[in-house]
Symmetry: C2
Subunit: 719 residues, 2 copies
């Protein structure tokens, strides 16, 4: 890619960004769009425009984002989101501090040398890269020290961030507000009960004997597949009924005084079959289903009990301590762990047994490894195909279009990147499904697992894949003979792809964050749905409900960018400003989105952080190793040995972090759990919050739950 196409790419990206910004400013001030741009505030019962968002100043949202405190973010969007901002600001700080030294030092050092003048592939960008320094020049010392500077800055800021996040987590855990999951533990792998003892009695007597004073009661988990099906059917009919009634009401207002009763066909998909009156039909169906649901609820509670349960304690310390203690002599029975939040429980996974969980984990890891390796081939093909020359060869009819100068430049600048981004959008769903198949009990945990898999995928395929892309096929045989040479090969291919990644990052931040902020796609979808589909309030709310930040894909992409930025930081310092803009703009845009748009779907109190920390460190080690390989390639190899302490230092740093912080992110520290609560906990409502909606009868009569939900200690606790 030459300098012109690079500039074109940048310019176009910036232009699109400006357009999206203007769109945002214009659209977000229209009241009918408030549910798209301020759903989080609306759902929290706040005035969308409080604080002057609708003032004349089109950049008021920026001021608001800057003036918001961490506490605001926690209040509006939870600890996980605050932790995500710690990540963004840490990445930003790493790049800013690195850039402060690297840019003024390395750019002149590289630009005033003239190694590349003798070569053909010379362009304006390449002049600023490390490749322009002669192979045996003492100037390379500057690059070596730059690697140390970047590493030290990273250690320092990661340490500060870890301490900060740890405090955030502790504060959240010791907060006096009532969180039902802090009073419960999840008990899995319950052994078969004795003859004549129900599951409930078994669980109750077990915990009663260990915790005579703090155990409250238990809830045996049931297999809810059947009852959920009926419940969802019923809810579906209720929605359809509301819809039909809304349509009928509307038709009454317009035209005929009596209104037009809507009709529906009762055959497949409502397309064939007899036409019937919708309202009557749905009412009938609902009447049919309600007793069926009740019967199935009873049957589920009585007969479909699983070998797992939730145990409830009367105070937080008891629950936190129970979740960390070994209960049975055989480790694979009576496994006790922290209860997830009720909203994020993956019910169907709870019953999976200890060793099956382990086996599933390994099988899933194997499948993921296969996936990562299989995708290598398509990515390689894409990066080989999407050069213009190749396109012309393969699709000769494009030649006339492609040869137009303007089109050519744009295509050259964007084609490979767009291919890559579209490609990446396909994967997350599969990875999430795989993570859930591991037997993980909570959505938050599954999202973390997905994020990990996605990170491996992006780094291996996008970063290493693209970098090696062109070179790999040529030199495949040499790798086969000598696997060690892969580091050298990687180092060798890095500089050639610098401009690719510059454009990649630029595209990500201008177009990506532009789309994020302007919410053009959700806006269009909302207005289409509103106009043609939604008749009731519930349907409308569903149409604008924003979902959460989507950590499973967001964090891996961010870590990919920091990986790219770190790995190129010394070889091509020009990447640093791009990285700074990415994380700066990202922080700003997402601050706005976190405060006003997205609604968190779970809260894990920052459990994501150890993973983020580990991945930034992995990126740093990759940087250090490639730097070593790259300097080793130059006639500088003896001096490259000075880089050997760096990866060792990084591993040491990772080890110390793990030892000092990690366990407090797995378990709840008792000193946090022992803080006093704002109010005396209402154990009954805590218990009820764990009942899945398909099983909670409207009357909430207790007899209903007598089978699976223990009653033993209830009398005691009120005595």
């Amino acid at each position: 890619m030459d300098f012109t196409s690079f500039l074109t790419s940048l310019g176009t990206s910036f232009f699109i960004f400006m357009v999206l910004m203007l769109l945002f400013t214009w659209l977000s001030r229209r009241p009918e769009n408030s549910v798209v741009y301020y759903p989080n505030r609306i759902l929290k019962g706040l005035d969308p425009w409080e604080g002057g968002s609708r003032s004349r100043n089109p950049f008021a949202w920026i001021r608001e984002a800057f003036s918001s405190s961490e506490q605001d973010v926690i209040n509006m969007s939870g600890v996980d989101t605050a932790v995500y901002f710690v990540f963004l600001s840490t990445a930003l700080a790493i790049l800013v501090l690195s850039g402060l030294i690297l840019l003024p030092v390395l750019l002149p050092v590289a630009a005033t040398d003239d190694n590349l003048k003798t070569q053909k592939t010379f362009s304006e960008i390449d002049k600023l890269l490390m490749g322009n320094v002669k192979d045996d020049s003492p100037r390379l010392w500057a690059f070596l020290f730059a690697a140390y500077w970047v590493s030290l800055v990273t250690y320092f800021l990661l340490w500060k961030a870890y301490v900060h996040v740890s405090v955030l987590r502790a504060n959240a855990l010791m907060a006096p507000g009532l969180k039902p999951e802090q009073f419960a533990v999840l008990v899995r792998d319950i052994p078969p009960s004795n003859e004549g003892q129900t599951r409930k009695e078994q669980v109750d007597s077990y915990f009663k004997s260990i915790y005579p004073e703090t155990f409250y009661r238990s809830m045996v988990v049931t297999d809810n597949k059947e009852v959920n099906k009926i419940y969802e059917k019923l809810e579906g009919y209720k929605k359809k009924l509301a819809h039909a009634e809304a349509v009928y009401d509307e038709s009454k207002k317009t035209g005929k005084s009596k209104g037009l009763r809507p009709t529906t066909k009762i055959g497949t998909l409502g397309l064939v079959g007899k036409k019937v009156d919708s309202i009557e039909h749905y009412n009938e169906k609902i009447k049919e289903l309600i007793p069926k649901l009740k019967a199935e609820q009873k049957a589920t509670l009585r007969e479909k009990q699983q070998a797992c349960a939730f145990a409830f304690f009367t105070n937080r310390v008891a629950a936190a301590s129970a979740a960390q203690s070994l209960h049975a002599q055989m480790v694979d029975t009576w496994t006790v762990m922290e209860a997830p939040e009720p909203r994020q429980i993956i019910w169907s996974n709870l019953k999976i047994k200890y060793f099956q969980r382990i086996i599933r984990q390994y099988v899933v890891s194997f499948i993921v490894a296969l996936t990562i390796l299989f995708y290598m081939i398509p990515i390689g093909l894409i990066s080989a195909l999407t050069t213009l020359d190749n396109l012309k060869k393969l699709l000769p009819f494009l030649k006339s279009i492609v040869d137009i100068a303007a089109v050519k430049t744009v295509l050259e600048a964007y084609l490979p990147q767009i291919a890559l981004i579209v490609f990446l959008a396909l994967l997350p769903k599969l990875l999430l499904a795989l993570s859930k198949a591991e037997g993980i009990p909570s959505v938050g945990h599954a999202v973390r697992a997905t994020s990990g898999k996605y990170f491996y995928f992006t780094v291996l395929n996008v970063f290493i894949g693209v970098t090696l892309g062109g070179t790999l096929f040529r030199t495949f045989k040499s790798i086969e003979k000598e696997p060690n040479s892969i580091v050298k090969l990687l180092a060798n291919s890095l500089p050639g792809n610098a401009s690719f990644f510059l454009t990649f990052v630029a595209l990500k931040f201008f177009v990506g964050f532009g789309l994020e902020l302007s919410r053009v796609v959700p806006l269009i979808i909302f207005h289409l749905k509103k106009k043609y589909l939604c008749k009731t309030e519930a349907e409308l709310k569903q149409a604008w409900f924003p979902g959460d930040l989507g950590y499973a894909t967001r964090i891996p992409v961010d870590t990919l960018v920091i990986t790219i930025a770190l790995c190129y930081s010394v070889i091509a310092p020009l990447i640093i400003p791009f990285g700074v803009v990415y994380f700066g703009l990202g922080w700003l845009v997402l601050r706005n989105q976190a405060l006003k748009v997205y609604v968190p779907s779970f809260e894990s109190y920052g459990k994501m952080w150890p993973h983020i920390n580990a991945r930034v460190l992995a990126a740093l080690i990759l940087f250090q190793v490639t730097m070593f390989g790259y300097l080793g390639l130059k006639k500088f190899s003896s001096r490259a040995l000075f880089l050997i302490p760096l990866p060792i230092l990084s591993l040491l740093f990772a080890y110390v972090c793990k030892k000092k912080f990690y366990r407090s992110f797995c378990d709840t520290a008792l000193e946090a759990a022992s803080r006093e609560l704002k109010e005396i906990p209402d154990m009954e409502s805590i218990f009820r919050s764990f009942i899945p909606p398909s099983l909670s009868s409207e009357k909430a009569d207790d007899d209903h739950f007598e089978d699976a939900l223990s009653q033993v200690s209830r009398i005691g606790s009120f005595a």
Copy 2:
């Protein structure tokens, strides 16, 4: 070694064994020796000869050993000893079950082939080895299946043993008897306390807030170095005074009516200086030291408090649960772990901080690795030197003696083995000191760590070292080029050393267990001391006090024997009967010793087992890998591939064992701790049992401990 010297070796060993057995039968029936042969019974207040040990039948002890139940062993010698017998009987069963198939099948298969007839080094033993089977013979299938049989037998018996030991441990932990350590936890890494708050207040308020109901009180650990010194000095003088008084009393009885007052010199070592009256001198010294000790005790409790403490709880579940829970958000502060038994606390290690402990661990591992590698050289030299031809060359004056036929045979049979055994006796002390330097808080744990190091040492140096010994130096250069060939080399050297290890094992069991049973050395030492040194009862008791079983060296030697037996089981099945005799005789002799002689010095409730299990599995994997290498050497390499599943299976087995059992050997399962106690625990005496002797004043006045030993909750608990 030829067949004659092999038989001579066996014969001599057996002769020595018979002599020692007769000695034992004769000596153990003499009443004056009862304290040497029955100290454990005497210390437990039992009649040494109860049950007919002194009857006419010289083999009564064998009947007694066989008729003793596991519960007897637990009662007399604790759970750890019972677990050790599980190990012995498991090893025995592995070898018996293997031998039942291997001996009748493999010996004829090997003996009827004739591969070695064409070679020079042929002897009667070699004929029975796998080496006698032709390289491409289908008979090798039998050996391949034998490897599978041995492996499956090992898995089956190890699994059974693990379950058995796990039950033993659970039963011991849930026993209703009062064990002070079950009510306490050890708290380390206490952060600096606030201004104006004493350490005691800090610990008390911390635990009070987390465990308002179950926390009893705390005991801050002090630096006892100085007070211990004074205390030991004082005790020494007390002993010397008692000794001097006994001498004086004796002199009164014999000869002069007034008696001769003993004198002592007050200079260096009592050899120079003024002569003074001993009794007066010691009385003076004691009078001097008592107030000094009191003052130092006060100063220690007040000023030498460390950043660690013991916390006491009013019930076992609370203590067991606290030991497993994370207390502080920063993992490296307020580390809480199980309290060791008071008698096995290593006080000076308690204060060592979290990260320092980790660093010490790595440093010690490094030193141990160096030790193992350094000893390689002397062992190699010894095994090269101790051939007769070499001896004659080096020490020509020996030639005339060595050339006598009888001497030659004996020397040839024993020299290398004796050199090896003497050599092995030097190491354990060093390894124990190194293990203690890791910062381990209890003796039991330090012994386990020592045992592990010693195992690595014996297997690496004795087994692999001796096996490769001769071959290594010759082929050193080929290994340097191709490190993978070490497996092949090992496999190649195995058969040549079979007879060495046969003699080694025979020497171990005949002479080793003969000496063990007859206790000739302790007997002689005791009688010498009794005659010339001991005057008081206390001194006499010290002279015969037997010590414990010495797991730190005993278990590694046993695992070395099972390693040898397993590795040779298929290549030279003749090793199996030797192994059977070793473990059979060992079981018998040690059963007698455990019931009558040794007094356990700590109790870890079977925590040794996971280590034993892991090491037997490591031996099995070594066997499987060498079998693979050995079969691969023959013209049978394609069929050797059938052995690849075996090491994988072993690793899988180890993994499953670890997942299913391991944690219950680290932590106390709450269901065990929740069992009811025989009596209501007397918390004050539990607390007092943790006070080190140098700090417990005779009057036991409470004010004494007001500083380091908290009093906050005592009032509460008696209210």
